[in-house]
């Protein structure tokens, strides 16, 4: 009896103490799935690094509004315009200082751009500027011109990815990032945690959050438990099976699209009827709310509906196993070797429930008469199938996920569908033309060209087996005010977090 009272006392003490203590502090703790081993501004397009660096430590000239419909918003640039054929002029904000005290000016922008593109380091951001000749010219301290060749209509959007560092930053990966953002990197214990602290001399409005600690736990159940016990405030990614508490858990589109890439060079996949049959054989609805979370959307494009030019008129493939069998029979009658064993390549741990999803797909395809063998592989082996040069000794479907939350299809189309793209499964001159035309176009014309391309790929080429726009789950503690959105996959702005 004595023991139980003591235990109950202990329990009471622990439950009453923690909320009282939590009320007073404005620090937040974020628990991430993957250890962040680099806090380098020019790597901020990598999602785990971006969640810490982007707009917290380092800022960009422009910022894409993914929460509302404001489009591209000013950040370190106050305004921008096209001054001549292919030249963009950015007017920079005045009175901005870096966390090391130096003033922000056009030289810093020029250096940041050149550093990101330098061949002495491998900055991920630079891949968005490949194939374009971009020459920055400093006009005065607050003005910079970017001449582009060929003319780059979306350069201001590309600038939402370029993190600005001081012009003194050496061209090697830094472990001490300096930025203009509202936070500084104050502590870093590799393998354990990363801490950010609010700056007093930030140019913009001071965030409510005074400091943030980032922890790393690879087990989703542990991340969920940490928010529940108050050890963490935000877990941006937990699994659907752990998202059981409606008061704490949010589902949000995570901008990942799941699909099967078809290599059309190997029979029988070169035959359009066979590709149609692949699409018709799958009961996509059956996955949602069962293996995959409620809220998962059926995909008709490789990018989510929030992307420019996404085509609402393209209709998802119906589930019609009868028609699939007919198409296969028709193809077989024409001598297409439809009974060849097709390898379906999946990646273990690609997303929660990946193995089950690919097993179900295999079963559905077999059901209409395909001869499918499933191979689940680890990431390095998966890459050998996913990118060119392809394995062409047998017909292959590669199950994969693609992430594009950047608002424009240009970040996906070239390398997924252009004849020279590293992951294109076919070559079609009309597709190439449309991609090139859309890439160079602006405004409504751009949007219309992308729409045409989406429809053409889905209905005419039957380029791939598009499956789902995925949903992620986040757990947020009751003391903080934060709603995850599609942007949560690539950034986590501490200034968007409030307290209740």
């Amino acid at each position: 009896m004595k023991h139980t009272t003591a235990l109950a006392g202990l329990l009471l003490a622990s439950t009453t103490l923690s909320p009282a203590m939590a009320q007073e502090n404005t620090d937040v703790t974020v628990v991430l799935a993957e250890e962040v081993d680099l806090v380098e501004p020019c790597m901020a397009t990598r999602s785990n690094i971006g969640r810490i660096v982007l707009q917290n430590i380092s800022e960009t000239l422009t910022e894409l509004d993914v929460r509302g419909d404001k489009g591209l918003m000013p950040r370190l640039a106050e305004s921008w315009e096209m001054t001549g054929e292919g030249t963009w002029r950015f007017h920079l904000r005045e009175g901005v200082t870096f966390s090391d005290g130096t003033a922000f000016d056009a030289e810093d922008v020029k250096h940041s751009f050149e550093r990101a593109g330098s061949d002495q380091i491998t900055c991920e951001i630079s891949r968005y500027y490949e194939g374009i000749e971009i020459t920055p010219t400093v006009v005065d301290a607050q003005t910079i011109d970017f001449a582009t060749e060929p003319a780059q209509p979306i350069l201001p959007l590309l600038m939402s990815l370029l993190t600005i560092v001081p012009s003194e930053t050496p061209i090697e990966f830094t472990r001490d990032p300096i930025g203009t953002g509202p936070f500084i990197l104050s502590e870093w214990n590799p393998g354990q945690d990363i801490k950010l602290t609010r700056r007093d001399d930030y140019w913009g409005e001071a965030p409510e959050v005074s400091g943030a600690t980032y922890l790393f736990r690879s087990d989703a159940a542990v991340r969920a438990a940490m928010v529940q016990t108050g050890e963490a405030d935000i877990a941006p990614s937990i699994s659907a099976t752990d998202a059981t508490d409606p008061a704490l858990d949010f589902a949000y589109p995570n901008s990942e699209t799941t699909y099967l890439r078809i290599d059309q060079n190997v029979a029988p996949l070169g035959d359009k009827r066979v590709r149609e049959a692949l699409n018709l054989a799958l009961d996509r609805e059956a996955f949602i709310g069962t293996i995959l979370a409620e809220g998962t959307q059926i995909a008709t494009a490789i990018t989510p509906p929030t992307t420019l030019g996404w085509n609402p008129d393209v209709k998802a493939w119906p589930y019609d196993p009868e028609k699939a069998r007919d198409l296969l029979a028709e193809a077989a009658a024409d001598g297409v070797p439809v009974d060849t064993t097709i390898s379906l390549i999946g990646r273990t741990g690609n997303f929660p429930g990946a193995t089950e999803v690919f097993e179900a797909i295999q079963a559905m395809l077999s059901d209409v008469g395909f001869n499918v063998e499933l191979q689940m592989v680890e990431v390095a082996e998966h890459e050998q199938y996913y990118s060119k040069p392809y394995v062409e000794d047998r017909p292959i479907l590669v199950g994969a996920q693609h992430d594009n939350s950047r608002g424009d299809p240009v970040f996906s189309m070239y390398f997924k569908y252009h004849s020279d793209g590293r992951q294109a499964g076919f070559s079609d001159p009309k597709v190439d033309e449309l991609i090139e035309a859309a890439t160079a176009a602006t405004g409504d014309e751009r949007s219309a060209l992308w729409s045409e391309l989406f429809a053409y790929l889905h209905d005419e080429v039957v380029a791939d087996v598009l499956l789902f726009h995925m949903v992620g789950h986040a757990r947020v503690s009751e003391r903080v005010d934060f709603t995850p959105t599609i942007a949560t996959n690539s950034s986590l702005q501490l200034s968007e977090i409030g307290f209740k």
Partner: protein, 304 residues
């Protein structure tokens, strides 16, 4: 004794050399770090540049020569992923693993030897049955399951312990408890079996016939003779822990060397893989040496 230790050292050295060659070829022939490190849509020029910076464009044999010469100078280079010296990365996590392994093995050995001896002395008693039951559970329950149940019970429901991480002494309780269970069950059984055999031997009967009491029989006559197989098993279990307790490290977010190795293998971070293997291999080599010395101290016949 020194000649025995010398022989052991030579054979360990040879296996280490074989390991070094295997690691190089297996890791390099099974995946391209450029493809894994860079995003999927990176261009061929970017990949090429990455390979050039990290010397991956050289012919494999040239790379192998560099690898061996660097190794001789104990220079493991930088981690591809973390942009800091690979050896530093590994030593950071190995320090955590070493602490975890030492504390766990000390507790396990003490508990298993005490309980195992008592069980052997009272074969068939409730204590014996309890010990056997415990060891059976310990040897058969999967540790990831025990870890999750432990978190749900002690952290989420009762709120006594933190779920995971490091920082206070309380953070160590759950990981050590989970790591404790399996070797405890195993060593307990070995101690019990070995003690029962020793207790039935002629020299114990003689001692008893001379009127020696229970306690000296256990601690002076029996335990020392029964310890040889026990030490072998303790060594095996400790080696497994020194290689990193991957499951426990993953679940509890413990920054040890096991998870580091798995991650660097998946990412083909060659320098870290190599440094991690060399450090753990050296640790296991030293531990085996300690075990050999312990053998020799316990059993004079081995010294020659």
């Amino acid at each position: 004794m020194s000649s025995m230790l010398g022989k052991r050292a030579v054979s360990s050295f040879i296996s280490l050399m074989v390991l070094i060659v295997l690691v190089f070829f297996l890791s390099r022939l099974t995946g391209d770090p450029a493809a894994l490190y860079l995003p999927v849509d990176a261009s061929e020029a970017m990949r090429d540049n990455f390979r050039e910076i990290h010397g991956l464009n050289d012919p494999v044999l040239v790379q192998f020569t560099h690898y061996i010469t660097d190794l001789v100078c104990f220079d493991f280079g930088d981690s591809l992923r973390k942009a800091r010296p690979a050896l530093e990365v590994v030593l950071d996590s190995f320090t955590w693993t070493l602490q975890l392994a030492l504390i766990t093995m000390a507790l396990v050995s003490a508990a298993a030897i005490a309980l195992g001896s008592l069980a052997a002395f009272h074969v068939g008693s409730w204590l014996d049955r309890l010990a056997s039951g415990l060891s059976l559970i310990g040897a058969s329950a999967p540790d990831f399951w025990i870890a999750i149940v432990g978190i749900v019970l002690f952290s989420v429901t009762l709120g006594w312990l933190p779920t995971s991480g490091t920082g206070t002494v309380w953070h160590w309780v759950l990981p050590i408890a989970v790591l404790f269970i399996r070797p405890f069950g195993l060593i307990l059984q070995v101690v019990r079996g070995s003690m029962i055999t020793a207790l039935g031997s002629a020299y114990v009967k003689t001692a008893r016939a001379k009127g020696v009491r229970n306690r000296p029989v256990i601690f002076v006559h029996t335990l020392r003779n029964a310890m040889l197989p026990v030490i072998t098993v303790i060594g095996d279990q400790a080696a497994a822990l020194l290689n990193g307790a991957v499951v426990v490290e993953t679940i509890f977010g413990f920054p040890g060397v096991g998870k580091l190795m798995i991650d660097s293998i998946l990412q083909r971070d060659f320098n870290v893989i190599l440094a991690a293997i060399m450090v753990t291999a050296l640790a296991i080599f030293l531990m085996n040496l300690l075990i050999d010395i312990a053998y020799a101290l316990l059993d004079p016949r081995i010294r020659t």
